[in-house]
Symmetry: C2
Subunit: 217 residues, 2 copies
Amino acid sequence: MADRPARKNVPQRASGPALWASVGARVRDRERKRDAVIMTAARAFRERGYHNTSLDDIASELNVTKPTVYHYVENKEQLLFECFRAGLKLIMDGIAEQRESTTTGRERLAAVVARYAEALTSDFGWCMVQAENQDLSPTMSRKVKALKSEIDQGLRSLIRAGIADGSIRPCDEKMTAFALAGALNWIAHWYRSDDKLDAGQIAQRFIELFELGLRPR
Amino acid sequence: MADRPARKNVPQRASGPALWASVGARVRDRERKRDAVIMTAARAFRERGYHNTSLDDIASELNVTKPTVYHYVENKEQLLFECFRAGLKLIMDGIAEQRESTTTGRERLAAVVARYAEALTSDFGWCMVQAENQDLSPTMSRKVKALKSEIDQGLRSLIRAGIADGSIRPCDEKMTAFALAGALNWIAHWYRSDDKLDAGQIAQRFIELFELGLRPR
DNA sequence: GCCCTAATTTACCCGCGAGTATATTTAGCC
DNA sequence: GGCTAAATATACTCGCGGGTAAATTAGGGC
């Protein structure tokens, strides 16, 4: 399972339909096509929601028929899960990256927040946030919960570290992590790619708010 | 339309199934039964999600059949909308209440946050947050957007007021409102009625966090 | 140039769930 | 106590969409 280190885990910018668009497109690059399927699904889910997106929709957006989609993916549920995982990985990477840093907890937290915001404005953002356990089988649901919990723990441990090194005021780390995650996750609800602010600028505002608070200093 | 001021707009604690439980209890109080339908729907949606809840489910939870549900409600979409509206009203009331207050902007904002948290931990919380435009017809979607926007404007104007009276540090009011709303809305995702903290305690932690910030003072 | 296999399609099945036409019961009223 | 209207139930329709069996097309190796 955990083999093939070369595998690109996050389908970055697979230009979707183009892969199938031209007539002589029966090439054999399973990986990239699979990624394109996932990307297209992610966009569709974001635009119309999971339950309002049929696999026929996704297929036709790829200029392809439904069984082709099934050729790359087990079923609809797995499709959602893959989108979810792709988005989550972006955040996990951000957290992992900061484990090697030697700055204060507060600074590391800020760096993670920036990556987090970026992940949420990506096409996977919606799936990460909206992938409700309700839409998933018990097995998948457990997996998703575990992954989400990892992120939560990551945030909390950064907060703890900050408190320990004095860069963060002592606080309820659980509620702080929830508030932070909530503010960030909510981005997926309102962000549109033509927004005035990009992920970086949003993150900057959030960091300022959470660091300084509303009360004048 | 806007008549009947006596009408109880938010179905508070209509004890659901009991209303129909006994055979001889077919009293004709449309209002209360309608509220029970909405309450039951809200709980069901929260537990299993909108698309995973059939009207047959809701009906059978009320010890009743589907046509009876249709007797109280136009269709499934309207049912979701009613749940949404019921929840939203709790927040709106909170905001309206503070308009008459003479305290600082920051204090009024805190009061609204407390009410907001309470609304989100109610059975309607999930519907308010999850009622995606995607699940609604264009008409309903517009209504929902308008209502949500009202709340957003309410928050922003409190923030502005706070900045004006010096109780809130100057900041990007839009992003601040979004962060605040996000942190609060997210409660609906994680809160369970058997949680250690109740709505009041959660609100208290959030207010402290947003007022003081993470950086030590 | 031929065969094997991966990729893709055509043409289905089938169940679920929203919504409804119609019958039936019940309560209130005179 | 019989009439009317509201309340509820029975028993449907029907389309959408997830999923699949089986045929077809195209490459790539030899």
